[in-house]
Amino acid sequence: MSVATAELGVDEERLPLIVTVGNPNTGKSTLFNLLTGLRQKVGNYPGVTVERHVGETTLGGRRVQLVDLPGTYSLSAHSPDEMVAVDVLLGRIGDLGRPDAIVVVVDASNLRRNLYIASQVLELGIPVVVALNMVDLAESRGIRIAAARLAEHLSCPVVPLVASRGKGIDALKSTLADTLKTNPVPFVSFSTTIRHAAAALARELAPAGEPLDPYEVERALIDEGGYAETRLQQRFGAAAKAALGGVRAELATGGSLAALDARARYAWINHAVDGVETRGAARTTTSDRIDRAVGHPVLGTLLFLLLMAAVFQSVFAWAAPLMDLIDGAAAATSDWIKATLPAGAIASLLADGVVAGVGSVVVFLPQILILFAFIIFLEDSGYMARAAFLMDRLMRWCGLSGQSFIPMLSSFACAVPGIMGTRVIADPRDRLATILAAPFMTCSARLPVYALLISAFVPARSYLGGLVNLQGLVLLGLYLLGIAGGVLTAFLLKRSLLRGPTPPFLMELPPYRLPNLKSVLYRMWERARMFLVRAGTIIFTVAIVVWALAYFPHWDATTQRFAAERAQAAQTLSGEELDAASADIDHREAATHLEESLLGHIGRAVAPVFRPLGWDWKISAAVLASFPAREVVIAVLGTIYAVGADVDAESPGLVARIRASEWPDGTKVFSLAVALGLMVFYAFCLQCAATVATISRETNSWRWPAFAWLYMSLLGYLTAFVVYRLAS
């Protein structure tokens, strides 16, 4: 009884739902942000990884819920990803319910293609408002649209807007408020024949009592070979496919039902637009002029290479002063703690575990911010699509398409969003090959490892009057190595396990736009927060665990033995001799404690495996500890060397401590050969629990992540071995 009442209560309280739909690059997200503010909930739709943006606003004194669908050119779905739009509009996503109104965002400078999806949405029997966006851009191109007459043709309200400057938002809000009150359903229908056939087929296919939306059947009928058809087939078996084929042949004798449908829609669109759109003489826009340079075969390729080189040089050069600042602050805090607190486990935990561990990861935040500033700017400006245009031929050589370029490029920041971004790739084989190649791209977590090893072992030599430096070149080399690993992996997979026909590659090249500073900063902050949260949880936890492994058991017997030695030295020696002797005793005491520690035991147990790579047990232990998240290696090395090295020396920093590390016979552990081998190991090895989990979810199996992990780890080990042998 109480449950029933509660359910009824929820139902009564359900906020009216408004969904925004539209083509990519129409300013749809900008409009959504304007309507809801930045306080939106971002999550995923169940079963797929399409981002789900939900927000709330007040319309005419009434709270409403808003959902932003991913940008799409039509409701014809070719993948589970694209099917989300249909499912939301049909109210098939459990907690959302059926929409009460739909806002179709339309680019005024590109009306005909944008109205295609409007023609599909207008048929759903749900109130529609068309938001005619970017009317300023259209006018600058000599395009004028009579909104009122367009509204008559579409049988729904049309509101002109400039979302980027907030113009027309109030009009859109009041129109939506009216729409929710009066509930006007548009009367647009393209083929009643298809509609009736779909309804009949739905009744025939679904057993009594089982719900099947006739619109889903309509989509399956029209979108031959699409995802709606696949889903019906999964649900009702091969009979469904045969039935669909039969109805199609009946409705489109000798032709294609999809083609008939598309022709009918464009005929309707042309009829509507001819009367309402006036076009002046075509003008060459700034965007066209930029494209002439960017699209030039020699100039454009040069520009692309220059841009990429500039990104990597600046990530290294510009971040340095900020990194020094953070480094200095962490060291000062560490020293202050040791000077203030009595020596013992607590002081060591705070100074060597907490501050040293987390500080040495946070120090790389400046580099990550600079890298993301570039990536977001390239994306928002429209250059990313040109890069895909430029790279398609090259990507196809390894069996992929320009579509794989964007997920791969995102993987330079982090493989997790990159792998999730592969959902846009319609072809399952291409998608899988991209997923397995993406973790090779140099992600932001590899950057700190490279930065540390490069600044420790690669001389800071400059060439061409300081324009190019050797450290930057080595970093560029490591990025290229990652690309080569990914490309070769995709190449081999597409010629063996994932062989198949080539899928189509159709891509819009949007006009160039100056990115909105506020949105670039907001997204940079989002990335920085994600990195910091990760640094603050996983890395912090690992830092503390590793500190504990390195500190305990901390035998009293050892401490007492060295205390006795120290007392003896104080009696027999004096002056500089005493100082030297106590420093030596301190050093040996720390080293003994570390050797006796749990980490020391584990490190020594696995060290023989890594001995062929030139690693000692400290490196082996650090590498093992970083398998859950590779950036952890910095924190672990920081902890190991802060605990094990000469703690009382004038805080020489991790770089100096690593450089000074020695084998028992006095030779240096870290040579250039070991450092290069270690960098190559980190370039290839899959040390990221989040990536493994994402691959598992995206491929819906444990086979592929297991394959990726084994393949990449073995490749890392073997190449590190070869590089070490060749370089030493």
Binding site: S76, H78, R113, G226, D392, R393, E508
Partner: protein
């Protein structure tokens, strides 16, 4: 003539499509259907893909996809 043979700066009008089902629908939904005027803007450095302008926007197609679109020259 097929669309991939259209030289940069030249224009053509679509007369027929010979693509298989899935590709055919995608091409038509993007506006590449009988009667649409298309201008070839440029080819990528390797000659593939090709950038076209139609209905006021720019679209990139591969040679292998443009081949399925029959066009007649427009002066």
């Amino acid at each position: 003539m097929t669309l991939d043979q259209l030289e940069p700066t030249h224009r053509g009008r679509v007369t027929a499509l010979t693509a298989p089902a899935g590709l055919l629908q995608r091409l038509m939904q993007l506006g590449l259907l009988e009667g649409t005027e298309v201008e070839c803007i440029r080819r990528a450095p390797a000659g593939d893909p090709i950038e076209f302008r139609l209905l006021g926007y720019a679209l990139s197609l591969r040679r292998d996809e443009a081949r399925f679109v029959q066009v007649e020259a427009v002066s």
